[in-house]
Amino acid sequence: MPNISSLNTAYSGLAAQRRVLDVTAHNIANVNTKGYHVQRVDLVSAGSTTSGLFAGASKTNGVNSDALSRSYDELLAARASREDASLSSATTSSSTMAAIEQIFPEPGDTGIANQLDQFWSSWSAVATSPGSTAARTDLLAKASALSSSLNRAATDLQGVSDAAAARTSSLAIDVNAMAKQLAEVNKAITTSLTPNPDLLDHRDILLNSLAKLTGATTRPAADGLVDVYVGNRALVVGEYTEQMDGSSGTLTWTNGNQPVNAPSGEAAALAATMTDVVPRYRAALDTVASALVSGVNALHTVGYDRTSTTGRSFFDPTRTTAATITLSADVAGQPNNIAAGAPVLPGPTAPGVLDGEQARAIAKLADSVTGPNNAYKTMISGLAAETNAATSRAILQEQVAAGATRDAESVGSVNLDEEMANLVSAQRAYEANARVIKAVDDMLSFLMQSFG
């Protein structure tokens, strides 16, 4: 028996199919949107949702199309986030090492290794012709070039650290902005009756970005909220956020000035650069400089110069780091003050004016196991190996992260073929429901005509 309620049923079908069309259109529009998860209308048969006295005997049927779900796998998304954070960290480390590597053009003809060897050669030249002012002047020039190179390398290393500090500062600003946005999205999600999938997507994008920057992890809280933790401390709790500060170069929490313990992400790599990597290489370079200064000075102070004066130092003994190494005032600009002559043993007695034995002994420092050449070679070998490892790790992590992202996207992203199929079926279903309405309308109008 045709019933007005059949019209309602057919109408609910029409409405449902129109809803499906809307959602399909939304999906298609967002086919290339990053972080978008496919939304589906959850069609539920209306008869199954009533309860109470008339349950089972109810005549209200049709389809209910209020529920909207998004295709989201929490496990895969969390994994993708974690791997992205590690990737961010590995890439930053790798580019830091590459920056340090560029400071030392080894092996080659323009690096410190070559200048060290030229320095020793010029000592040999002075040993060969101690009476030649030209040889002595050349030695001073080579020494000067060597110390300038060491100074410059130390400055460049500090530059890498300073760049990391600057990036930390802007990173803190980004994190603060994102944390605020996240808190607002949390608030919006709780105030709406049904969770809005687009808001949820927006929140996931923010969480992913925060993870990449600081290695932040999430914990679900009540009412669909999400808490964000960096290290052990909360960045976002519901609608309340903490702030970070990076203006001093290290990342700290604004409340309490504790340093941020970022477990992963760019922040972790930047912190490692400033507190571990750069200081290590500066220390290694300082070892080279101090071996140079102490080695040369130890021999030079007991040697005799052209006026048979002894006790002169070649490098300034108070400046033994790579940043400060310089020629001492005793010899700078005064080539005749270079002590080329060795004391006559059992001395000390001044040697002949043209004796070059002390210069020869100094030239031999090139082969010394504790000398600057060896220290420098050790440093460069370490640098090459570390940079190689960082690059390999970055490449490997990139593949891992790509795999994790692919798995997450497999669940969540839009497949145009699927949407097309959905579109076609929604269209046909709509037509069918319209046909039902027409049929009921015809029957009712026949009834009206028969009795009217």
């Binding site: 092996p107 043209l354 692919r406 669940v411």
Partner: protein, 296 residues
């Protein structure tokens, strides 16, 4: 597994990028001729290259010292050889003067004495031979080895050159070692010649005999100095040959570590180019089609 358009796009872009990266690297290798573009490409090779470069620079420096040592030894050698010849002539004149008899004519005695004196000044100029601006027999003192009176103005310093790794060589002979110690006893060769000339002039046969004996021992001293120099000279030649061989070996070693075989690099570059083009073509084919093409 569900595959979507964005997944395909992402993986295609990634693969194209990787391919392009490899292409760029192989082109860089072919252009620069270096197998390792950065020290981190091959840390072991970097270490080896640095050691080899250091050895090469050392070899070059020692080459310079070898040349310097050779000039010192050659100068000393020729001075002493000529000196020995001069001394030989002096001995002949001494014998001739002695044989002329104690009451020989004044004129021939004067002539002999004058010759001896001439030989003395010849020997003195040989003793003051210079290499550059250094007196070869003066040790480490500045200026000449002997002054006009025959007194030694040099010192006993040795001149040492590092001619090979862990090998140093003394390249000089002091005046006292070659020409005798002046001042005490018989004196140096100049004192001997001086007294010999005076003895001949005075016709003092006992003095002449004494000086002849001194002359013989002076000749022996000079001979042994010449022998020492000669041995050093031979060693230097051997060392110079070895040094040249070392240089060649080190340069080959460095090239093996650092350089890339140019033919291989070019082939690799071409291969990467072809691969890249193939990826581009495949990407162009798989991205466009979808169900829309078939629903009309």
């Amino acid at each position: 597994m569900r595959v979507t358009n964005s997944m395909m796009l992402r993986s295609t872009l990634r693969d194209l990028n990787t391919s392009l990266g490899r292409l760029q690297e192989s082109q860089q290798r072919a252009t620069t001729g270096k197998a390792n573009l950065r020290m981190s490409d091959n840390p072991t090779a970097t270490s080896a290259a640095m050691s080899t470069r250091q050895d090469l620079r050392r070899n070059e420096q020692m080459g310079k010292e070898l040349d310097d040592a050779k000039s010192w030894l050659d100068a000393a050698d020729s001075a002493l050889t000529n000196g020995l010849t001069t001394l030989g002539r002096a001995r002949e004149i001494a014998i001739a003067a002695a044989n002329t008899g104690g009451a020989s004519q004044g004129a021939s005695r004067e002539a002999y004495a004058a010759q001896i004196r001439a030989m003395r000044s010849e020997l003195m100029s040989l003793a003051n031979t210079k290499v550059g601006d250094r007196s070869v027999f003066a040790g480490t003192a500045a200026g000449n080895a002997y002054d006009a009176t025959g007194a030694y103005t040099g010192d006993n310093g040795m001149v040492v050159r590092d001619v090979a790794p862990s090998l140093s060589m003394t390249v000089n002979v002091t005046g006292t070692a070659a020409f005798g110690v002046g001042g005490s006893g018989a004196g140096n060769v100049f004192d001997v010649l001086d007294r010999l000339a005076t003895a001949i002039q005075n016709g003092d046969s006992s003095a002449m005999a004494a000086e002849q004996v001194n002359l013989v021992s002076a000749t022996d001293t000079m001979s042994s100095a010449t022998a020492v120099i000669g041995v050093q000279g031979e060693r230097i030649l051997e060392i110079a040959n070895r040094s040249a061989d070392d240089k060649l070996r080190l340069e080959t070693q460095l090239s093996n570590v650092e350089d890339v075989d140019i033919v291989q690099a070019l082939i690799e570059s071409k291969e990467q180019e072809t691969r890249y083009q193939a990826s581009l073509q495949v990407a162009a084919k798989i991205i466009p089609p979808s169900l829309m093409d078939f629903l009309r």
